[in-house]
Point group: C2
Chain length 416, copies 2
């Protein structure tokens, strides 16, 4: 049984698309369905790949709008930590679902998460039908007892059942060089290497982090992570704002991947990612929204636009960070970094895509639809979302929205 999308606009041309066994199976002017095929008339909506959000903390959706516009420490200590202390597996399950509601409605098919309670998160992801990388986060505040506990937790995570390996990838994470001991970084890196898992790390987000690391270890966070064996082709560094030329050489040499989170970096006044310079140095770059507490949107539309605009202003060059390149960063690059055979509408690729209303002033005129997506569009244009060949959303509505709302409202009462 296949899914046939009739009357789709692909690259500004009308066609039909057949999806079979999770992949695009045929793209042709007309495809005739067989008995049992599901047929969806796209009604001249345009098809684009879905977005791959390479760095977020999904369950922080329940903390959005708390203590904005504050200094980092008072924000964390007065607003975030007291409520996170009330988080449990149920709350995190619900917060993750709420985040996925926002992500699906804005065209996102995949997110790379860094949070607690992996079993609850995997359950939420499997139920919503999106893709995710779910990580266990190394975080020990340099206390030997916490290090030992976290090592046990990583071992247990390796054995934890994955409810849908087609959608969910288990990965390991290190919170940062300023919160995790060398022992735990080394252990996590070695375990990731031994198990062919990806390793997700916050690195060089702020100037202070870099300065403190130099004082403490005599080198930059990038150099320090390299010395601990944490850098390789499966390492993804989030933020990576404060990189010098030596850092960039290390990143390129080790084929490390980078994820930029421009809204978060701007909102926390951390600094500007050097997109243009890093692309010219052949770094491989993905895009992420960061969590709802520091962005506060999970929309990759917002993030693409700021990613481009930030690069242009930083390079003082309006030709930097062209729309097509930024769209690739948010789609194909993201999928490739995460080892997902998707991110482009081509026969053979996994069917992760969205259908977009073109009768919307954001998408008209159609001189350059990709420019419209990057600079002019927002979540209101996304009608249908398909992930791994299955329809997740139609008419901008998910089937389980009412249930997610009821759960989210109950969870909010619990933490406040």
């Amino acid at each position: 049984m296949s899914l046939i999308l009739k009357n789709v606009i692909l690259n500004q041309k009308l066609c039909d698309i057949k999806i079979e066994k999770c992949r695009f199976a045929e793209i042709a002017p007309t495809i005739f369905p067989n008995a049992g095929d599901e047929v969806v008339d796209a009604g001249r909506k345009a098809i684009f790949p879905g977005f791959y959000n390479l760095h977020t903390h999904a369950a922080m959706s329940l903390l959005k709008g708390l203590g904005d516009d504050k200094e980092l420490f008072s924000w964390l200590s007065q607003d975030i930590w007291p409520r996170e202390a009330k988080f449990n597996a149920d709350i995190i399950y619900i917060g993750t679902k709420l985040a996925m509601l926002e992500m699906a409605k804005s065209g996102t098919v995949f997110f790379s998460d860094m949070y607690f309670e992996q079993a609850a998160i995997m359950k939420a992801v499997a139920e919503m039908g999106l893709r995710a990388a779910v990580s266990i986060v190394g975080f020990d505040m340099f206390e030997a007892q916490q290090t030992a506990q976290k090592i046990d937790a990583i071992k247990a995570f390796l054995d934890l059942e994955n409810p849908n390996p087609d959608l969910i990838q288990k990965v390991l994470a290190v919170h940062s060089v300023y919160t995790v001991s060398a022992r735990l970084i080394e252990y996590t890196a070695q375990t990731a290497h031994d198990n062919n898992m990806m390793l997700h790390i916050h690195a060089s987000e702020t100037k202070k982090e870099v300065e403190d690391c130099k004082k403490e270890h005599g080198c930059s966070p990038i150099s320090y992570l390299e010395s601990l064996g944490a850098l390789g082709p499966r390492t993804v560094l989030a933020h990576a704002v404060w990189l010098d030329d030596a850092d960039i050489d290390i990143i390129v040499k080790n084929k490390v991947k980078l994820v930029t989170n421009p809204s978060s970096n701007f909102k926390l006044a951390s600094g500007m990612f050097q997109l243009d310079k890093l692309r010219k140095a052949n770094c491989v770059i993905g895009l992420g929204t960061d969590g709802s507490a520091s962005n506060n949107s999970l929309s990759m539309f917002d993030e693409m636009k700021l990613c481009s605009l930030s690069a242009k202003i930083q390079a003082s060059d309006p030709t930097a960070a062209k729309a097509e390149d930024i769209f690739a960063i948010a789609t194909l690059n993201g999928a490739e970094i995460m080892g997902i055979d998707a991110g482009i509408i081509e026969v053979g690729k996994l069917a992760d895509c969205m259908l977009v209303n073109l009768d919307n002033p954001q998408m008209f005129p159609d001189y350059n639809p990709i420019s419209n997506l990057v600079y002019a569009a927002d979540s209101s244009i996304v009608d249908t979302l398909i992930c791994n060949g299955k329809i997740i959303m139609q008419n901008h509505q998910l089937p389980n929205e009412a249930e997610v709302w009821a759960q989210a409202k109950a969870a909010l009462k619990h933490i406040n």
Copy 2:
């Protein structure tokens, strides 16, 4: 006859709101309609003021996505000017309507326009029912014949019939110090002064503009405009990116108003508006999207977010440009600058407002709805738009959308 909005959330409390003779007449827990009143059940949607977009070129909606990511001159000469040469009053009428469709759908009730064919623009505005400031643009490229023609055109504009003075304000404009002669700037400024009209000017947008002005006139564009009598409390300077301390003193002394257009300034790599510094110097600031060719969105949601984020990164201070202040800049400040007695939901004020769906992940949790509007929301949350007491849009749909689409598609064929 009044319009009664039942079950509205105002400042997180449920109430009814009566609108009478274009103004908010009553806000109370329950209002009983009289015979003949129009009653709209808001169904627990939240009410907020609409947005005041203080600088745009509406009809450039038909040029969106053309030649992005190019150098300024090749963009203008290859992409923009050849098509603008095909613009006529009909095309501009349609382009202005298309822009208003995008603006209405993203919560905007007013725009300050700078373009050609004022009669066509005023007709479009009156038909759509939004508010606008419609300007005639001083632009003579220092050629005496053009100066004389433009002076005649300004005189004719003063006599041009205004089809709806409640909604439309005629204003004068000067394109810039690098495109307009001193003679025409002086004439326009004097005419604005004599007729109590506002004066809208692009000023100090790029570093090159400032440097060239210093070479040519021995002073900054701000100082030069002051010397020509063009600065006063009814002058609105768009962009104003490259201001030094002397410029700021002149602006404050003359009570000049500023409009920031962050997306355009980033996209063209012009520079960053000094929001935090200018607010501390007590400058009065509004927000604008600029035209679709240089942003490319007309959504004030995008613009509010970048306005805040840009100010935070520029000041290296996450506490700069708080959500509440940015929201005021986009609403109340904008209305006040333009002399419109609106921008806030209060009895006695003109009824310019939007109703917003709260059952949307962008607006949930509701710890701080204004933070959600500034940092997390996009046009998808706007259900209803009311301008000057009249309902312009419900269910995110305008009554004349189909007609605008048909006209816009026809216009596009004409210019391509």
